[in-house]
Symmetry: C2
Subunit: 323 residues, 2 copies
């Protein structure tokens, strides 16, 4: 495959289980996708793996811009990772270390910001200057696009939507607090609710119990989503409950940010049309001032699991002067 | 008094009970303050009163820029009032009507945005590019300053912090929803809690009951604040409770917006140092990711009740080319 340097940049997405990288052209189309398992809790091995993947994708043109999306908090300049849940990065100058290994500048960006940027540039948010993007996976990732720019906040940590407290004294969150939104609307939350339903021994959980051999620990959000899509009423109810929480949190975000569009992506957002439909219904019923203001549109994301690397690649291209 | 046109603009603040107007110089200092009662539910009389006050303050120079702050939702351009709680303006071209009456261009702005802008320019937010301002009065007004600009959102309604749902199924709000933040942290909320305490006949409410002659309807937020400051333990507890809710909501805002400073103003914010101190404590205990990120500063507002008109005047000066 012959590619031109002006057209392609390299996007990398470091997930909890795998690192994914690809070439991305100026229209957000990807090619030459490569994968590696994420060396968990081993930042050095992770950085080495990224450098190798980038080298592989640089064959033919070693100047291709490189963008890396990772879960975690970057400072405002995208230089230092303040905190990363999967990779044990704590206040480390990851960008410059990666750049030294790779041998060219690197654009480092929060993975949810990268995914939101991709949806803004090439997906559901095209043409929308003020947009919020939710990445529903194990938790909730958030991106804020204002005036056609990613808004990162004073210290680079804006958009931590998943940790708005929505139920004071509610479920304990992985962040240490109680009642965070992502404990009520995420893949993990859906798995927890499904597991509780299995434990309840309720007759309505018949099909779910059967699917996991009566073992609540085997329930996942993905399974609940799948059974709901296949018509199981109990799992459909769990999706509806979650959609209502999702809608309530969206109302809160819209009250604060007043975006034109709310894009819902991530594994869970992509998997369940019913979830997004219920969330929109709930949002429209709970937005304060409804009737006296326009509703922000609620849209499903379009770019799927590659959104993060597409956005990282596009941001890298822009940082090196491309459009 | 001799004033120069280049130095002064006219700020107007339309409150629920009174309209306040004054001359404001380029440093945010006010002079020649004038008042009138607000003709409630009568927009025509309100507009006439504003025009008369502006005429009075224009003696000596009929070209002074005019800025008007009002409770309510303006569209993004500050042209149309979409909804105003006190004045029955509903989707009306207020800015141009006022301009026609006054005989010169008018800058129309949400009162909380105006107050936040004043704090950013001349008060607690000086030098802070990313700032959130809460105006605690009967409810919660909000302003978002990002990159040194008021952020108004897609339709002009950003910053409606008071209506983030913080207690699902909680107290009914004047907006029609349940559990809005301003039902837990505002002058009205404080009055409601005080009245409930009087009704409870609890011995701890002794002093509060005495102050209102056992009539719960006479309890106001201002009275509770005053008794708390005078040392009444029951009213101090109410302030502490409210400070905790205030802090929790601030954590939510900081999770989303990551500002450098949160400024707390309004009648209640100015009146109770204890409230703001408790809010900051609660915020520092509930912010997600504390320990891995800097804390936004929490500051009391500096400009008092005139903040709204100072901000409106300053925005008007800028809109007409002044600095």
């Amino acid at each position: 495959m012959i590619v031109q340097s002006a057209e392609h940049s390299i996007g990398v997405d470091i997930g909890g289980t795998k690192i994914m990288a690809a070439l991305v052209d100026a229209e957000g189309r990807i090619s030459d996708r490569v994968y590696r398992p994420t060396p968990r809790q081993d930042p050095v091995a992770t950085e080495r793996a990224i450098a190798q993947m980038v080298a592989q994708l640089s064959e033919g043109d070693p100047r291709r811009p490189v963008g890396v999306g990772a879960a975690g908090w970057m400072d405002r300049d995208g230089c230092t990772v303040l905190f990363s849940p999967h990779l044990s990065w704590r206040n480390e100058p990851v960008r410059d270390r990666l750049a030294a290994q790779i041998g060219r500048p690197v654009t480092l960006v929060n993975d949810a910001d990268a995914a939101g940027w991709a949806e803004y540039r090439f997906g559901s948010g095209r043409g929308e200057s003020d947009m919020v993007c939710l990445t529903l996976g194990t938790g909730i990732g958030g991106a804020v696009i204002l005036g056609g720019q990613i808004y990162r906040g004073k210290s680079g940590i804006a958009g931590e939507f998943g940790h708005q407290c929505i139920v004071p004294g509610g479920h304990r969150c992985a962040c240490g607090n109680r009642g965070c939104w992502e404990q009520y609307a995420s893949g993990n939350a859906l798995g927890r609710e499904g597991a509780e339903l299995v434990r309840s021994n309720s007759p309505v959980a018949h099909r779910l119990r059967q699917a996991v051999g009566d073992d609540p620990q085997r329930v996942t959000g993905a399974l609940v989503t799948e059974l709901a899509a296949a018509g199981d009423p109990a799992c459909q109810d769990l999706i509806t409950d979650m959609g209502q929480w999702l809608g309530l949190g969206i109302s809160n975000l819209v009250s604060v940010l007043d975006p034109g569009t709310v894009v819902i992506g991530g594994g869970l957002g992509s998997a369940s049309e019913a979830l997004v439909a219920t969330a929109e219904e709930s949002y429209r019923r709970t937005l304060s001032g409804r009737g006296y203001r326009p509703f922000a549109a609620v849209q499903r994301a379009q770019l799927g699991a590659a959104a993060g690397l597409i956005g990282a690649a596009d941001l890298a291209r822009r940082n090196t002067g491309g459009q």
